[in-house]
């Protein structure tokens, strides 16, 4: 008995509706946040499909990129760092969602740090000045009432 060698269908060319839906559904939170965020598709020189998650306006720089090369999905960030690769797109999309979340949490952490720094500065620098001027007012108020 001989085994029939089935030729494996090469998965190249444009994204299918199913593939696009899988990626967009996984990243809908990032896409729904507005500010001009969106997505685009493109092709490599060899005709492999790419999907780009674009950041907010005005730059709209690529934050994440999913590429399909020979049935394998590659997840990279906007600087070309390889984040994940697998033949299962749903798994790759899940990692993409996690990557977006970590980016957003990083942003939240930076905002919180900025807020704490500002509060600390107010506490250290501005409050003594306010107290000082309040003390001056207490001293000067009786003298001012004499002139009034």
């Amino acid at each position: 008995m001989s085994v029939v060698a089935f030729e494996r269908k090469q998965n190249t060319g444009l994204w299918s509706e199913t593939e696009l839906n899988t990626i967009v559904a996984a990243l809908n939170i990032a896409l729904a946040s507005g500010n001009g965020r969106g997505w685009e598709t493109g092709m490599t020189e060899k005709g492999d499909a790419q999907w780009y998650l674009l950041g907010p306006l005005p730059d709209q720089a690529c934050e994440l990129c999913v590429s399909r090369i020979g049935g394998r999905y590659i997840l990279e960030n906007g600087s070309g760092r390889l984040l994940f690769e697998h033949h299962n797109l749903a798994l790759v999309a899940m990692h993409a969602r996690a990557a977006v979340r970590s980016t957003r949490w990083g942003l939240v952490a930076r905002v919180m740090l900025l807020w704490c720094t500002a509060r600390h500065m107010i506490h250290e620098e501005i409050e003594p000045l306010l107290i000082e001027s309040e003390e001056m007012l207490v001293h000067l108020a009786p003298q001012l009432t004499v002139f009034a």
Partner: protein
Amino acid sequence: MKRGKDQEASAAKLQRKDVPEARQLRKQAGDWLKQRRADAGLSQVDLAERLGLKYYTFISQVENGFSRVPTETMAAWATALDLEPAAFAKHLLLYYEPELHRLLFGAKK
């Protein structure tokens, strides 16, 4: 075919006037890089190999105008394309930071 048309329309959107200027400039930078790579006789795969990348997908990402050449790898890109790194970086600055380029080197042309 619907999805084909959708994706073509998506690419055509780049040419539209409502595309932010930064994005249009990145696309111009990508076209310039693609031309320099062709001049050097390299494919995207060849360039990725020279840059020590596992996949060539980032080259495409940059050439399609969605990402920039990272500053830390500019010298390596220039060398891989047989270009002088300072001139390469200066030219890319024209697209990536046009105002900074104008301040440093004067008006374009």
